[in-house]
């Protein structure tokens, strides 16, 4: 089969995969909402637009908080923070993981031993505990700082996965051929080994993206999220802190959590769908 027809086959299975379609549709919906959402609302996330908490109405689509802030405005601005954390945090974690995984897997020996040890150590330490301590000592925290810290702590999974894959690929004939023909190591990694695991890397990135979003949500909820902007986790934090539960303002804490669940769930379902597209064994007959 030629590469071209193989691509067509992928596309064919991608388009008729229900999981993929559902997952990508939900993601697109939220991405659109993030982009055009701020245009749909005349308010800023921390504007006091009315007095006190009101349930959803035609004027305030998702109701208002105890302070009279518009929940819909907060959600669409919070979504932006969520996507930034996912892309920057997940992306950075991916990058570091790739670097360490390729290095360890390709060179093996003492380099591998050392890097593998490092990976295992970071893997055992509960990431959130480290993030808690760092965040607590930083007085001003931005969304980018948060993403960077998440990125620097979430890479071990990627490193492990990439290392294992590189290990199995580097002894293949075509890699040996490249080596014999005098290709430089980094070139072998990026032009011979990496393309063979592209589909796998895409899946790993999707999981990293979702993981970064969940970590950020937990951090924000505990009160160590960004200090200068709104986020979905922070909304839940405020809701619990200001007794939205006892007052019964369900419209304050349900939307932010629902948005996170929908985005991360859609990412997971997309992941499974893509897996089925890439791996014929898993396809539903």
């Amino acid at each position: 089969m030629t590469a071209r027809s193989q691509k067509h086959e992928m596309l064919f299975f991608a388009l008729r995969n229900t999981k993929l379609r559902v997952g990508v549709s939900i993601l697109l919906f939220f991405i659109l909402l993030t982009i055009i959402g701020p245009q749909l609302t005349p308010y800023e996330p921390n504007d006091f637009v009315t007095s006190g908490a009101f349930p959803p109405s035609s004027e305030f689509w998702l109701g208002t908080t105890t302070f009279g802030e518009d929940v819909f405005t907060q959600v669409v601005y919070g979504l932006r923070a969520t996507f930034i954390v996912g892309i920057v945090g997940g992306g950075l974690g991916m990058l570091i993981g790739l670097l360490i995984g390729f290095t360890a897997g390709y060179w093996g020996g003492i380099v591998d031993e050392t890097l593998n040890m490092l990976t295992n150590i970071i893997l055992v330490i509960p990431t959130l505990a480290v993030l808690l301590i760092i965040a607590a000592y930083l007085k001003v925290r931005g969304i980018l700082t948060e993403s960077l810290f998440i990125g620097f702590t979430c890479w071990p999974w990627v490193a492990r996965a990439v290392r294992a894959q590189t290990f199995s690929l580097r002894v293949r004939d075509f890699v040996d051929m490249a080596r014999i023909s005098g290709m430089k190591s980094y070139k072998i990694i990026f032009s011979e080994i990496a393309p063979n695991m592209m589909s796998y890397l895409l899946l790993v990135f999707i999981l990293q993206f979702g993981g970064a979003i969940l970590t950020a949500a937990t951090l924000d909820f505990i009160g160590l999220g960004p200090t200068n902007t709104i986020s979905l986790g922070l909304m839940m934090n405020m809701a619990v802190l200001w007794s939205a539960l006892i007052l019964g303002s369900w419209w304050w804490f349900i939307p932010p959590g629902l948005a996170i669940t929908a985005i991360v769930g859609a990412l997971y379902i997309t992941n499974v769908g893509l897996d089925e597209v890439f791996n014929p064994k898993l396809r539903e007959m």
Binding site: L123, T127, A129, Y137, L214, T218, G223, L245, G265, L282
Partner: protein, 330 residues
């Protein structure tokens, strides 16, 4: 076997070393003088400022060379001295943490183990069954995408506010003092149910999905096909598949611990459940950095200990490992 243990122990010791070093580094290398920050944030007045200033200078030992500060940190750590809590002044941090730990264990151990057992069995049952795969699997994915605290908030809202079945906050009724009466134990349990449920439910989805995928993988393997051609009953093949698939799930349990602990911290915040997570929240609000660092160390030690226990269980469960063990002693 000996090699396996030595390697694991080395990793755990190194991890502990790195964690303690991080715990020591972070306050010192963050911008600003930690003592000034601590004093100004603690909002102390009058003579208390001087007392705390002296105390912090002594504990941080900032007048000493940096390597000596580091050694001192280790020395006091081995004496079990984690400093004194500001939030519950003058209780030592180690004592505050010791009071919170039973709640954590009581919450984490049952929820993790039960969700692991039930999730695995359910996942094994759902694998290759088209109906279950199409209905309950998406549901499992949604569950594993749910932030722990959000499920906690929803449960709290539904069962505490709307239906008024369970109490909302605390580890036991505020009207009671800890004692060994049935009323008190009942109160403990009724406060425990919802945090337990939110941890249990979120974890369940992940285990079910993992097991389902593992079983499908095993059912596609050569030995399953061989058994099938021999005409073995499906139940037997599934049993073998399960036995093989459960091993990676044990490793998975060790790898997931960090995430579970994070989830427990957030859940405790929702329910004001008096475990480590709640302590961390109080420590952050009261700028109690000794307590925060103590909690951090304690979480690390707990996760390392749990990892070690899982390693031992793995040794006992995996027949290949057992064989290796006997081979070495023979």
């Amino acid at each position: 076997m000996g090699r396996y243990f030595r390697r694991k122990l080395l990793i755990y010791l190194l991890t502990f070393f790195v964690a303690v070093t991080l715990d020591w580094c972070i306050p010192r290398f963050m911008p600003g003088n930690p003592i000034d920050i601590l004093i100004s944030r603690a909002g102390l007045r009058g003579s208390a400022v001087q007392t705390m200033y002296d105390y912090y200078t002594r504990v941080f030992g900032l007048d000493q060379p940096i390597w000596k500060q580091y050694l001192n940190f280790w020395a006091s750590l081995f004496k079990g001295d984690l400093g004194i809590s500001i939030y519950l002044f003058p209780t030592p941090v180690s004592k505050v943490i010791a009071g919170a730990v039973p709640y954590d264990l009581f919450l984490l151990i049952p929820s993790t183990l039960l969700s692991w057992i039930i999730g695995n069995n359910f996942g094994a049952f759902a694998a290759r069954s088209k109906q279950l795969d199409n209905t309950l699997l998406p549901f499992s994915y949604i569950l594993s995408a749910t932030p722990y605290m959000w499920l906690g908030i929803i449960l709290a809202w539904a069962f505490c506010i709307v239906f008024r079945i369970f109490p909302l906050a605390g580890g036991y009724s505020f009207a009671m003092k800890p004692n060994l009466s049935f009323a008190f134990i009942g109160s403990l349990l009724s406060h425990w149910v919802l945090p337990f449920l939110s941890l249990f439910i979120v974890q369940l989805g992940g285990w079910a999905i993992g097991m389902r995928n593992m079983i499908i993988y095993e059912l596609e393997s050569d030995y399953s096909h061989y058994l099938k051609t021999l005409g073995s009953p499906n139940r037997l093949i599934r049993k073998y598949a399960f036995n093989n698939a459960i091993l990676p799930q044990i490793t998975g349990l060790a790898l997931k611990l960090g995430e579970v602990v994070a989830g427990a911290l957030a859940t405790e915040v929702v329910f004001a459940y008096p475990g480590i997570g709640y302590l961390i929240l109080q420590a952050i609000h009261n700028e109690d950095y000794f307590l925060l660092q103590g909690c951090f160390l304690f979480i690390i030690i707990g996760v390392l200990a749990a990892n070690f226990i899982i390693d031992i269980v793995y040794l006992l469960v995996d027949p290949r490992m057992r064989a290796g063990m006997q081979g070495e002693t023979a």
